[in-house]
């Protein structure tokens, strides 16, 4: 039985400490899996973050044992959070201007994965998401599951233990809320126009 499966089983049985162990483990596994796959890819090719999460699930979780939605929910919640951190950490690192030298990116330590798309967007989204977590935990969890772990609406609803309709409503709300938060962050950062 893999370590992850063991922990999921412990969570199902109500072990209060098991949940904390899950995230660091999933985080390490995701990084390792990403590095392994990226090493096989040609340079410049990409790996979908959500595809990685699903593959990790298949590899790490003994599906026959983890039938209850509790387990799946916990795994994907942890995987979503882990993927979020991997992507955002790299986005933050990439944003810092490099001084000197010709190399464009970070030196790879065992092919550390690097997010490819606009880094500003991701860092801002991360900050906005952290804000949402403090005011509406369900909406925030839903965003993480769908955006970072790639769960469909029905899958996410099941993972969260809510109805599909509730999930859809929360999704709409989360998107509106985040859009407002991001817009406000943009406005706050904009330089005021000089007077006439």
């Amino acid at each position: 039985m893999s370590e992850v499966t063991r922990i999921l089983s412990a969570i199902d049985q109500g072990d209060p400490h098991a949940t904390e162990q899950l995230l660091p483990l999933v985080y390490d596994e995701l990084r390792r899996l990403a590095a392994q796959k990226l090493a096989q890819e040609k340079p410049g090719q990409t790996l979908e973050a959500t595809a990685l999460v699903h593959e990790a699930y298949l590899r790490l979780v003994d599906v026959s044992k983890a039938q209850e939605w509790d387990s799946r929910g916990h795994f994907f919640a942890a995987a979503a959070e882990a993927m979020r951190r991997i992507l955002v950490d790299n986005a933050r690192r990439k944003r810092r201007p490099k001084h000197g030298g010709d190399r464009i990116r970070l030196d790879l330590d065992a092919a550390a994965p690097i997010a490819q798309t606009p880094t500003d967007d991701l860092v801002e989204l991360d900050e906005a998401l952290s804000q949402l977590e403090t005011t509406d935990a369900v909406a925030a969890r839903l965003v993480k599951l769908r955006y970072f772990a790639g769960l469909s609406m029905p899958q996410a609803a099941e993972a969260l233990g809510i109805s599909l309709r509730t999930a859809e409503r929360n999704w709409t709300y989360a998107r509106i809320w985040l859009h407002r938060e991001l817009s406000r962050a943009d406005e706050a950062a904009a330089e005021p126009d000089p007077g006439p």
Partner: protein
Amino acid sequence: MNMQQDKAKSVLLNALEIGSASVRQAYLDAECAGNEALRCEVQDLLYYHDQMGVLLESSAPALAATINEPLAERPGTVIGPYKLMEQIGEGGMGLVFVAEQQEPIRRKVALKIIKPSMDTRQVIARFEAERQALALMDHPNIACVFDAGTTASGRPYFVMELVKGIAIVEYCDQQQLTARERLELFLSVCQAVQHAHGKGIIHRDLKPSNILVAPHDGVPVVKVIDFGVAKAIGQQLSDKTIYTRFTQMIGTPLYMSPSRRRSTRWTWTFAATSIVSACCCTSC
């Protein structure tokens, strides 16, 4: 979530499920009666609902391997019809090379490209704004833009006339110009800036090193270069958001006016005075 937010959320979502505008309005009036704060919050969220486009509809960014990624542009690199030669400048966000244009005509140009690792959305927006600002100019004392593009690795660049000159202060000293001659040269700078202002562009980083003087048929010609921190008033220079994070400095400290919030004309006067002082003091 507190009660008010919870209420706003539920009213908002219910309202969005109502198809008819009049029924929706009636619903909102009923729910928000006597509660202005609630009404404002819901209206605000409805506004952002209309604006949100496809936010989050795609999934998270992809991961990419970066082993073997090509090194930065260097002499010899070919970008489109331009072959890079020596590097002649470096700013906060870009590098400037002399380049040899092969077609449709052969000539030497200046090619400015975003530095490696600076291709964030914000920097790209500013880079494009610079290019656009320069492209709007049509004045003998402002370097003109010929071309623009993106490299294979996705970094923007633009191509300008190559100004074979030196910074204005050095020129004045080398040629041992009189104070009068220096001021006449400076008049060209004023004309260039006036032209830019006429187009609604503020340079924001005028300093001697951005003002070159090059001889044209024996006559010294001033060329203002580097609109890297230019700002447009009343028009958009770039279709991407340009904003200034508090961690980034705009302008070069020695030449910025004490208060950036004052009028443009005042600010320009300060910079102008500083530049003129720099030009003229060395001759005294």
